[in-house]
Structure formats: C-alpha cells, structure tokens
Symmetry: C2
Subunit: 183 residues, 2 copies
C-alpha cells in the first residue's frame, strides 16, 4: 500500500526510522512529505536524518492509502499549517489507516477528529486529549477502526505490528474497509 509520512524537523528518531524500515520491509511504499521537497530533516536526538520526497503542495490525500505520523517536535510544527491539518482530516474522513505515535496525535487534536474515538498518545498529550470527548487510554498500542496509536519509542514493536495487521486487512479489500464491504 502507499503510505504517506508527514514529517518536519525534530522528529523522534526511532519513531520515524523503525516503522519506516519495517513498513517498507513488509512491501509498502512510504513517501516522506514535508513543507518542501528535498528538505533535509533531522531527528532531535541527532541520530537520523532524511530528505523529504515531496512537499505538501505537490501531493493530494487521494494518492495515498494510509497516513503515518511519527512523534517528537515534528507534529507540533506540522499542525501550525492549515494545509497539513486538512491533509490529516482527509484520511480520517475517508476512514483510511492513520498510524500515529507519541506526539503524532497532536495533529489529530488540531484536525478536530478525535471525538468519540479510543486512542493513546505521549503522556502529556494524553492530558490534552482528556479535554475532548475521546476515550483516552494508557496502553502500548490502541486500535480503533482505522486508527492505530501508541505512546513512546518503547511501544514501537506493538505499534508496527498492529499497523501492519491493519494495512494487511485493508489491502485485502482495496483499502475500502473490512472484508466483505461492497465496493
């Protein structure tokens, strides 16, 4: 499946790199989209750097099957942009897989799409989410329909495993929902 990763400076190194590698190893295509194409982005721990494949103005949500949101300082930078927030909204509106870890759910908060959903996030973001009507839990990974969320780097193995399960299910039906859904 075609996964798009929204990324900016100061992402959490392992929360980008490990799922990125494992999604690709499982046969998925991952496109890194930032504010501009070809921009060198660095993780805040200084261990990982990556050049963006495309800029946000060059892509449309319809070109991708799933959205991946790593944590760190990147999500708070991204959500300052209306374009980024609208991009995220489109995936939630279409019930496409959204895979968000740590500070990643900050983008969901800004997109106004957490209402009635069950999810987790980095501990400080859990507090922000508790002001909404979302069901916020403190677990390594939470799957709620199209939404997979985790809290921190320790949770990466569970996060990747549940994300790959969801992508497998969606892939089997052309990304259109659970098996048996008419197209």
């Amino acid at each position: 499946m075609k996964i798009v990763c929204l990324l900016d400076q100061g992402f959490e190194d392992s929360e980008f790199q490990d799922p990125y590698d494992q999604f690709r190893a499982a046969g998925h295509e991952v496109t890194v989209v930032g504010f501009k194409a070809g921009q060198e982005l660095k993780g805040y721990q200084g261990r990982v750097s990556v050049a963006t494949d495309r800029g946000i103005a060059e892509v449309r949500p319809e070109q991708f099957d799933a959205l991946f949101l790593p944590g760190g300082n990147s999500p708070d930078h991204l959500r300052a942009s209306t374009e980024m927030v609208e991009f995220v909204k489109a995936f939630m509106a279409e019930d496409k897989p959204v895979l968000a870890i740590c500070h990643g759910p900050q983008l969901l908060l800004s997109a106004g799409v957490v209402g009635g959903r069950r999810l987790t996030a980095w501990r400080t973001i859990q507090g922000d989410l508790r002001y909404t009507d979302a069901e916020v839990v403190d677990e390594p990974v939470v799957v709620d329909r199209n939404l997979v969320t985790s809290r921190q780097p320790d949770d990466i193995p569970s996060f990747v495993s549940k994300s790959l399960d969801l992508l497998r299910t969606r892939g089997a039906t052309g990304g259109q929902g659970p098996v048996g859904t008419p197209e």
Copy 2:
C-alpha cells in the same frame, strides 16, 4: 518580587532571555528552576544557554511571589513531571502572578487550571485550549487577573510590559491581590 522561572532543554531562546533580563532590570529577582540544580540548559535556536539555580525538589511555591513560563520545547518536557505540574497549580490556586508565553500555557493545560480563564498561547496550543472552557483569544497579550499570556517572540515587548504592570500592582499590596484587599 521573587520570580521563579521553570525551565528545561529546548526553551525558546528570546522568550526566556528577554523577559529574564527585563524583569531583573526592573528590580525583581529571578530564580531559574529545572529538574536539577546547576544543569546547563540550551535554547533550541542555540543562541542562549543558562545554568539552573535550583532543582525542583529543593524549592517550594511559598518561596516565590510569581511564576514565569517561557515557551519552546521546555513546557512539554516540564509537564511530563507531576512535581512541576503541582508547582504550577500552587501559583494559580494562590492567585499569584503567572506569566506564560507561547508553549508556556501547556503547563496550565496539564495543571487543569484554565477553566473559565481568558488567555492566549502559541497558535497550535490555542487549538488545544479550545477543547477546554477557557476563553481563547488571538492577541499579543492577555491579562486575566493573575494571569498574563502571550503567543510568540514578537509579543515579548507587550508580554513584559503587562507582566511588569501586574508585578508592580501586586508588589504594592504585598502580593496579596488588588489594592485595598484586606490582609
């Protein structure tokens, strides 16, 4: 007056340094408190570094008249600690001046003290605050009783000016509220 500044790595350089300098120039004492005493903290722009005066375990809210919360990545680090969040709560509970800029109000969100208050913050944090019953406005500086808030580095002159006004009023009455309040 005795001002305490809660600070951690990645603070916004000017949002710490400029108010710090101007509060001191106006005759106030500013104590920088972090997770540990004597820790070297760096601004995320790399222009300012400062060593903490005290660690959070060595201080009590009663020792200070006012609280200063600069922005950047520092507030989100600080609010992961219950000790820091409780420290902030005490200033709000006692109606002591709380001066918070940019991401500073993230600490107020985690402390659960924004209910019914009028305030501003960095644009992304304004969104988080809108899930609460606070009145969130997009203005350079907002004064609501003991609380002075601003959005970003550009707002520093207004932030410092209104903060100094508030400290002056409180100083004249021993920090116990508006002029004429019985003690």
